[in-house]
C-alpha cells in the first residue's frame, strides 16, 4: 500500500511538469506577438520592446520556462491583457462559481443516478430497468448545450419561471446544474446498475437472503457498499469531463465561472488567462484523479498488491 501511494505520489509532479510544458509551448506558439498584444494596438516600437523585456520574451526558452514555472508555483500567473488584473485574482473570483456548479451537479448526478441504477438492477429486465436504461442512453448521447437551449426556451423564455442568464440568485443554479449533471447521471446510473447486478450474484448476498435479512437492507447495506467502488471511480476519474462540460454549460448560461473565462480569453487572445485557467483546471483534474485512485486503493484490497 505504501509503495503504491509512493509510486503515485512520485508520478504526480512528473505529470504536472509535463502539463505545464505543454501549456508553455502552446502559449509560445500562439499566433501574434504577445508583447505587442500586451502593449496595446497604438503602442510605439519602443513600448513594445520595453514590454518584450518586461515579459522576459527576449530570454532563451528554458529561462522563460523556469521563470514561468517559478511564478506558477508561487501563485503568480501573470497579468490579464484584457482586464489588466492579475490572472490569479481573476481565477480566484470565478472559481467558486465553477466549484459550486460542479458540486451541485455531482449531488444531482449521484442523488438521482445511484437510486435509478439500483432500481434498474433490482427490477432487472422489467419496465423500470428498461426506462432507466433508455433514459441513461439518451443522457449519454445528448449535447448538453442543446438540452440547455431547450430548457431555457421553455422555463426561462416561455414560462418565465427561471432566470435566463447569469448567476443572480439560487434559482440561477437550477438549469446550469441540471444541464451539467445529465452526462454524469447517465454514466453513474449505468455503472451502479451493472455493479449492483454483479454484486447481487455473489455468494454472500445469497447467504444474506438465506439468513433472512430483509431485501431492503441487503440492497442498501450489503450490495450498495460494494457497488460504491465503481461509482467513486466514475466520479473521481470523470472529473475532467465534468470540467469540459462546465466550459460549455457556463458559456451557454453566461455563468461567471472559469470555463467562460477561458472561452472569452480565447476570443480576446488573452494568453496569460488561457495559460492560467488551463493550468488550474488540469491541476484540479490531476488532483481529483489522484484522490480517487487513493480512495479506490483503500477500499479495494486487491489493488494494493500492485
Amino acid at each position: 500500500m505504501k509503495a503504491y501511494i509512493a509510486k503515485k505520489l512520485l508520478a504526480l509532479p512528473l505529470i504536472l511538469i509535463g502539463v505545464s510544458l505543454i501549456v508553455f509551448v502552446a502559449i509560445r506558439a500562439l499566433p501574434g506577438d504577445p508583447a505587442r498584444l500586451m502593449a496595446g494596438p497604438e503602442a510605439t516600437q519602443e513600448a513594445v520592446d520595453a514590454m518584450t523585456g518586461r515579459l522576459g520574451l527576449d530570454r532563451s526558452l528554458p529561462e522563460q520556462y523556469a521563470s514561468f514555472a517559478h511564478g506558477a508555483i508561487r501563485g503568480d500567473l501573470g497579468i490579464s491583457i484584457k482586464s489588466k488584473l492579475p490572472v490569479v485574482d481573476e481565477i480566484a473570483e470565478r472559481l467558486p462559481f465553477t466549484i459550486g456548479l460542479a458540486i451541485t451537479a455531482y449531488i444531482l448526478a449521484i442523488g438521482i443516478g445511484v437510486p435509478a441504477g439500483m432500481i434498474a438492477a433490482i427490477h432487472r429486465h422489467g419496465w423500470p430497468d428498461q426506462a432507466v436504461m433508455i433514459l441513461a442512453s439518451a443522457g449519454a448521447s445528448v449535447a448538453n448545450f442543446w438540452l440547455a437551449l431547450m430548457a431555457m426556451n421553455t422555463f426561462s423564455v416561455k414560462l418565465g419561471w427561471l432566470p435566463l442568464l447569469g448567476a443572480s440568485s439560487w434559482k440561477s443554479f437550477i438549469l446550469p446544474s441540471i444541464t451539467l449533471a445529465v452526462l454524469p447521471m447517465a454514466v453513474i446510473a449505468r455503472m451502479t446498475r451493472s455493479s449492483m447486478i454483479e454484486v447481487m450474484s455473489q455468494d454472500y448476498i445469497r447467504t444474506a437472503y438465506a439468513k433472512g435479512v430483509a431485501p431492503r437492507s441487503i440492497y442498501w447495506s450489503h450490495a450498495l457498499r460494494n457497488a460504491l467502488i465503481p461509482i467513486i471511480t466514475i466520479v473521481g476519474l470523470n472529473f475532467g469531463s465534468l470540467i469540459g462540460g462546465a466550459v460549455v454549460t457556463e458559456s451557454v448560461f453566461n455563468w461567471p465561472g472559469i470555463g467562460r473565462l477561458l472561452v472569452d480569453a480565447v476570443r480576446y487572445r488573452d494568453y496569460p488567462v488561457i495559460q492560467g485557467v488551463t493550468l488550474v483546471a488540469v491541476t484540479g483534474v490531476v488532483m481529483m484523479n489522484f484522490l480517487a485512485e487513493m480512495l479506490i486503493a483503500l477500499l479495494n484490497p486487491k489493488i494494493r498488491l500492485d
Partner: protein, 289 residues
Amino acid sequence: MAALETGMETVRRSWLVRSLRWVASHRSIALGGLLIGLIVLAAIFAPMIAPADPYEQDLLATMLPPSWGHPFGTDDSGRDILSRVLYGARISLIEVVLAVGLAVILGVPLGILSGMSGHYLDQAIMWIMDILFAFPGIVLAILIVSVLGPGLVNLLIAIAIFSVPVYARLSRNLTLGLKSQEYVEAAISLGISRRRIMTHYILRNAIGPIIVQSTLTAGTVILSAASLSFLGLGAQPPLPEWGAMMSDGRNYLGLNIWMSLFPGLAIMITVLGFNILGDGLRDLLDPRK
C-alpha cells in the same frame, strides 16, 4: 421438381429465420447499425432528399415554423433547416472519419511500440499519454484551436490529439496480452523481424477491440466537435454543421426554436446510434459472453 421447390423454399425460409434470429440476439448491433445506416444514407443522398439548397437564402421566408414546404422550418436567413440538417450529416460523418482516423493512425502504432519495447521507451510514451490524458478533452482542444486558429479542420486535429491516449493505452494493453501468446513467442524465436511481428501478429489480432473503441469514440467526436463549433471555435458559418447551427439558433430563443431543436435531435440520434452499435460490438467480441 416439387421436391426441389420445397427444398428451395426451406433454404430461403431458414435464411430468413436465421437472419431474424441473429438480429434478435444482437439487438444492439441491429438498432445501432440501423440508426447509423440512416445517417449514412442521409449524408450520401442529401442532394436528392433535401428539399432546397442548404446555403440558399430567402429573405422573404425567414424564421418560418415547420410546414409542408419546409418540414423543419427556416432559419434567420430563410434557409431550409431540413436541408441543412441533412447536409450536416455529411459534415458529422467526415468529422468522425478524420478525427478517429487520425487518432488511430497516431495512437495505435505508439501503443504497440510501447508494449513491444518496454523499459524507457515504454515509460516515455506512456508519460506523454498520461499528460495528454490529464487534460479535459474540451480544454485541450480549446488550447490547440487557439494556437492553430478556429476552423473545422483545426478542430478535428485537436479532437484527434486528445483521443490519441485512448488508442495508445488500449493497443499497449492488447500488445502486452498478445506478446506472451505462444504463437508470438514462436515468431520471435524464429527470428521474424520486429516490424513484421508488430503488423502481422499483434495489429491483426488487436483490430477487433480497436474497431469497438473507434465506434465508441465516434460519439465523443461528434459531441466535442458540435460543442466547440457551438462556442464559435470550430466550423464557421455558413457551414451547416449541427453545433454551429445551434450557435445561430441560441440568438432566437423564444422566436424560433426550430433552428436549435432539429440539429440537436440529429446529434442525439447519431451519437446514440454509434454508442448502441459500439456496445453491441463490444459484447459480440467479449469472450465472456
